[in-house]
Symmetry: C2
Subunit: 476 residues, 2 copies
């Protein structure tokens, strides 16, 4: 019995997605064109992500700061490639306090320029390095389409910016963030088996030496670029004059990185795990982990147990709500399902006569009868572990079943005619071949797998000697 | 022995203030005119404030959300008084994605308009009420001056916006936020004895029925408006069509409030408690509560105890750092002082021979020798309680000694020629008298004390029958 407010995901995936977002009240469209509102439930997930990441980042020596949201045009232009990359999509402030401004200010689309300008004043000696700062903020990019979490003119993100004494240290940071922060976040918390690798020259961040990316495969076979970590070398430090006296007492430009993930990850959570009944949230990211639903007439006895459970679960740091509203049990079940609450506890007077209560898993809908005297925290914790594991296994199996290998364009076309997904294919490194791939239903390179063994050793497009295996896919 | 980087506060208070901000590295000026950078230490205090307030707000049924930062001009204009109040100080986006926009968008100076527009879509019945949402964000107001935390074009704040079924409920919310959230925050955490009351018609928020305010007195006798809570009645709900079916099944407009405090509070913390050695932070708001400073040669023994203390203190949720850098003890003491770390633990090899270590209070500089085997967590906790209490008592004594009563303009002038502060004086309620007061060194009404007994029953300016006691002061 699927939720009536939600279109089936196999019928119309795009409609299903927006239905889930609005039925679960994660976000809503605003009357400000291109901008969305993060409603309380969506914001709670964002806060949870912030807490998890702040913990990982602070433990590894990163500190949060806050920079201005406005960037003067001249400051933005100091590093040419960056402004070329972003110029077509920034918003410009031209009037302030009733007066026309002498110089336009853009609302940050990203803050490399501001951090670089600040770091130039901060660093004098190798002793001042590394500097590893991060900020949580919103950025603005003048998108034409709007899809909650996936694309909007303003979105929520974190951007880390670090400078280092050596190339090796900066490259290690770029890799650390990808492997030890983003990948862990996706696997251990989101239960999403995202793949990582290098962006091609064409797809890398404007101004970066190279870009590492984390790419997740959605239920419908479309890829979502979910986070990036850039190594800049000395490009920005030369443009913004971030130099330090090195151990040989000579001036040297600092080595720099930047990296970010955004509210787009909430889109990934929806499109990987959720179903026709609404959200399915991994227990480790769910703002509410347990919904207790009292059923039947013997209210007092039922409510008493509900309250005992709630107290017991909260003592064990499990988040829980009791739905004691006047609505029907069926309505309450549907509501808990649409919100993706991992575990539902049904307490009915009839079951209580048999000393039983029912646990229901959101992921499989499986019902488990337990003795009402059981250690409820242990039962729920065990069940949440199973759900967390199952979601990752299911998503991994799906990803694997939708990951193809292609030796030539014919095979690529055939795959794309059947079911899209990740397509692994050898590539010569020529941008022309990359552009040729795009003619097949918009296929783009997702990432280069540097360590993967070549498939045919010939470029999937031109047949010339291949350099790398590349994962291709359609993107959001 | 005052910090050499810091001007004495009795010599030049304004210079002292900016010296403390930069020496303690709370914030720095940016190359974006009018905007500051919250450096890690300043941001940590802001995060601490957010955690304390989120806890208070969530417990009282408030939820966090996030609204767009841009507001279309037409949406802004729906409620006339608000735009009149803010028009001279907003920043306008007129170009986006390389094109001139059809309609200007302002960067939010405050978000009543956006919340009202959203609430109109959210609420249909009295059953949907109340809605109590809050957001943490930055806002932009085109200020001419820049002083870190006190005045900048962009600043950090929270803005709460609530709608209710009845006038009584909305007024109770306005009061609850002032008395149970803001006042508690100031007294219990900041150790600042701020006063609260009503703003006059002239000073209230544009569009509000009335405004409650919390006003703190700085070391130099200047007042700082530190937070406001507004009751709107139905003004915005009529302008933005927020109506609901009431219990009589008739359409009624919702009753509304809004309230906010900002990063300006960090300015109050500095100007109330700090001294010529730098910051003095109340333990309950200090990001770092203890600095352990190893002294002398017998390094191993010293470091061992330092680490035992650190572990023990952290187990008791006390934040602590060990300064084991190569710098001199004197340098380290100064550094811990400039950062306002409430308790310093000095561990020296000579003291250890006598089984002693030294605790030093940041507020009084008092040194306390304790046995090294003492329960260090208990010693530190007790000392922090004393510091917290002492700071509030000291600030209260200072506030009281700088709170004057005046019966006529002569007395007001005399006080202002000697030492500024809070001046209590009766007022007839006429805006002309309020403007007359301003001629005396810019005195403004800080707040009306509704429950206070009249002093002479005659207006301090015109001598006509007085309505209320008003607190007057010079403001930041």
């Amino acid at each position: 019995m699927a939720n009536k407010k939600i279109t089936s995901r196999d019928v119309d995936f795009a409609k299903w997605y927006t239905d889930v977002v609005s039925a679960s009240r994660l976000a809503s469209y605003s009357n400000v064109k291109g901008c969305i509102i993060l409603e309380p439930y969506g914001y709670e997930i964002w806060e949870k992500i912030q807490n998890i990441m702040n913990d990982m980042l602070k433990k590894s020596g990163h500190k949060n700061v806050a920079m201005p949201m406005l960037i003067p045009e001249n400051l933005m232009k100091k590093e040419g490639e960056l402004i070329n990359g972003f110029a077509p999509e920034v918003a410009w402030v031209t009037e302030g306090g009733s007066e026309k401004l002498d110089e336009r200010l853009c609302i940050r689309p990203t803050s490399e320029t501001l951090f670089s300008d600040y770091y130039a004043t901060l660093v004098k000696s190798y002793r001042d390095l590394p500097v590893k700062y991060n900020q949580w903020c919103t950025v603005v990019r003048w998108e034409k389409e709007t899809r909650p979490f996936l694309r909007s003119r303003e979105f929520w993100w974190q951007e880390g910016h670090t400078i280092h004494e050596t190339k090796e240290e900066a490259e290690a940071e770029t890799k650390f963030i990808m492997d030890e922060v983003y990948k862990k976040l996706f696997y251990d918390y989101f239960a999403i088996p995202a793949i990582t690798g290098y962006k091609t020259e064409k797809e890398k961040f404007a101004g970066a030496d190279y870009t590492l990316t984390i790419e997740a495969l959605m239920y419908n076979g479309v890829s979502l670029q979910s986070g990036t970590s850039h190594y800049f070398g000395q490009r920005f430090s030369k443009a913004y004059d971030i130099k330090f006296l090195n151990r040989e007492n000579k001036w040297e430009y600092a080595y720099q990185t930047s990296w970010g993930v955004s509210s787009r990850m909430i889109g990934a959570l929806i499109m990987v795990h959720s179903d026709d009944d609404g959200l399915v949230l991994p227990p480790k990211i769910a703002p509410l982990q347990v919904a207790i639903i009292p059923i039947g007439d013997n209210k007092e006895e039922v409510m008493e147990l509900a309250n005992i459970y709630k107290e017991e679960l909260e003592k064990n740091s499990i988040t829980v709500m009791i739905d004691d509203s006047d609505r029907s049990p069926g309505f309450k079940f549907a509501e808990a399902e649409v919100k993706g609450i991992p575990v539902r506890i049904e307490i009915g007077s009839r079951d209580l006569e048999n000393n039983q209560v029912t646990l229901v898993r959101r992921d499989t809908k499986e019902k488990i009868m337990i003795n009402k005297e059981s250690d409820i925290s242990k039962e729920v914790k065990d069940l949440m572990d199973k759900i967390q594991t199952n979601l990752l296994e299911k998503a991994t199996a799906r990803r694997d079943s939708m990951t193809y290998t292609a030796k030539n364009l014919e095979e690529v076309k055939k795959i794309m005619d059947t079911a899209p997904g990740f397509i692994k294919a050898d590539w010569c490194g020529d941008i022309k071949c990359e552009e040729k791939m795009k003619e097949i239903k918009g296929l783009k390179s997702r990432c280069i797998l540097k360590d993967e063994k070549l498939i045919t050793s010939k470029c999937v497009v031109c047949g010339k000697p291949a350099k790398d295996v590349v994962v291709w896919g359609i993107q959001y």
